[in-house]
């Protein structure tokens, strides 16, 4: 069987950029999970909870910790 090549044409030209606005078809790299804030929210909130128990600062990327009687 011959392989059909699927070619995708970027028909819209990029033109002049106004205020670095990224167009939807340019968002490929931004869609990567490692480029998404909060993608690994479970390990992030676990880390935040451990640091909250051992240090005197909480919060930053989201709310202050969900409360515990951590010693």
């Amino acid at each position: 069987m011959i392989r059909l090549i699927t070619c995708i044409l970027m028909t819209l030209s990029l033109g002049a950029c106004s205020s670095a606005s990224v167009k939807p078809w340019e968002r490929g790299n931004l869609a990567k999970s490692s480029m998404t804030f909060g993608y690994d929210s479970m390990i992030d909130s676990t880390d935040d909870h451990i640091y909250f128990s051992k240090e005197a600062t909480s919060g930053g990327r989201s709310f202050g910790a969900g409360g515990c009687g951590c010693n």
Partner: protein, 409 residues
């Protein structure tokens, strides 16, 4: 040769495609995540094992329901706040009813902590007004033997500029109840004095406002400002502070005392940059509050794509905090007792370093696995004690190991 009957062909094809009726991938679909974690500190201090689960259900209308559940088991010992001394000390345990013996010349660790904590949370996220505006609401609960937390939260977010900018606002309120084992100690009273009420409450209000901005095809930035106001019982009912005389002898042990309210602010900035196949994530957070604690946190991760759904991500974090205004490793017995005093190591001045890495790989049926190992080291500033306690360190710091395995499925 003529095509006899093109209809016949079309019909045969239709018949085949209509024959097997398997359910479509359900539009209301669940994403699950689970993890197990081990945390262990050096010198026989705290060890924690936990299991967590998070389930997320997205339906056709883009509404998202998130449920989470976690169980933690805590064992090991924790610094009591009582000063190290050249003498053996026998003191009442925080829960009352028995005594603990602290060895001479050693950090006074309390090993009476053995607890299991359960936490539950649920949140709902949906678009309101238009597809660029979203509302989220949430509730959380956690329970351990001596502590109950109840919380609610709500927030809105709005996308602007072709999804290049997102503004968000959030508010959270917690109502916590502290039911100290053996009842609440009276602040600054002798540790063997009669206890106070059976439970105390603490209310916390958190406010966050933030913006996420796409800087380029390969860069995205997040800036948040947060405010936290806590009121009520902010003490640790199990922490003590010693009054020590000039000869290094412990004259009395008192229950610690902290102010009844605390207002803190923080600014957080994070940047993610994509370098062809790898991603750099870096963040900085500045904090200040009216306990007198100022801190800076710097965190960097670099995700290296190894191909074939595998990646490795080294991680370093630096943290520095100043001591609370009322922190002291011990009190001078000849001086008047201050209004607030705590020897809790977590309020001291220290540097902390984290070094670790996470390895991710893809499994069958689209599962994503994660293995994380991290080393944490807390290095406090050495505080001067009396001359006779020379060589003793009230807060030597500690190292901790964190190991965690997680899976998304």
């Amino acid at each position: 040769m003529q095509l006899k009957n093109s209809n016949k062909i079309a019909l045969a094809a239709a018949g085949l495609l209509g024959a097997v009726n398997t359910a479509q991938v359900s539009a209301a679909d669940w994403d699950h995540e689970a993890s197990v974690l081990y945390y262990g500190e050096s010198d026989g201090r705290v060890q924690d094992g936990s299991i967590k689960y998070k389930g997320k259900r997205t339906n056709d209308d883009d509404n998202v329901l998130t449920l989470n559940l976690g169980i933690d088991t805590l064992t090991g010992s924790s610094p009591s706040g009582i000063a190290p001394s050249g003498d053996v000390q026998v003191v009442a345990t925080p829960s009352g009813g028995s005594t603990t013996t602290y060895q001479a010349n050693k950090l006074t660790l309390d090993d009476t902590f053995l607890d299991t904590r359960v936490d539950l949370g649920a949140s709902w996220d949906q678009s309101i007004l238009d597809e660029n505006t979203r509302l989220n609401v949430g509730a959380s609960l956690s329970k351990e033997y001596d502590y109950l937390h109840l919380g609610v939260s709500g927030g809105v977010s709005r996308e602007l500029n072709n999804n290049n900018t997102t503004l968000s606002l959030g508010l959270a309120y917690s109502a916590d109840t502290i039911e100290a084992v053996g009842n609440t100690p009276v602040p600054l009273a002798d540790i063997s004095a009669a206890k106070g009420s059976s439970d105390e409450s603490k209310d916390t209000l958190d406010f966050v406002v933030g913006v996420t901005q796409v800087l380029s095809k390969n860069s995205i930035l997040q800036l948040n400002y947060g405010l936290t106001q806590a009121d009520g019982y902010l003490n640790d009912p199990y922490k003590r502070i010693s009054r020590v005389d000039s000869s290094g002898k412990i004259v009395q042990n008192l229950n610690e005392s902290r102010p009844g309210d605390r207002l803190g602010h923080n600014i957080y900035g994070a940047l993610k940059h994509n370098f062809s196949d790898n991603v750099l994530s870096t963040s900085a957070r500045l904090h200040t509050d009216d306990f007198g604690i100022d801190s800076v946190t710097l965190d960097t991760k670099y995700n290296i794509n190894l191909g074939n759904r595998r990646s490795i991500e080294p991680h370093i974090r630096y943290y520095h905090q100043t001591a609370a205004d009322f922190y002291a490793p011990q009190l001078d017995a000849t001086a008047p007792i201050p209004e607030f005093a705590s020897a809790d190591y977590r309020l001291a001045e220290f540097d902390a370093y984290t070094l670790g890495a996470t390895y991710r790989f893809g499994g069958r049926k689209g599962r994503e696995w994660r293995v994380t190992g991290e080393l944490y080291s807390q290095n406090p500033k050495r505080e001067k004690l009396t001359a006779s306690q020379a060589g003793l360190d009230a807060n030597p710091g500690f190292d901790a190991l964190l190991l965690s395995i997680g899976v998304k499925f």
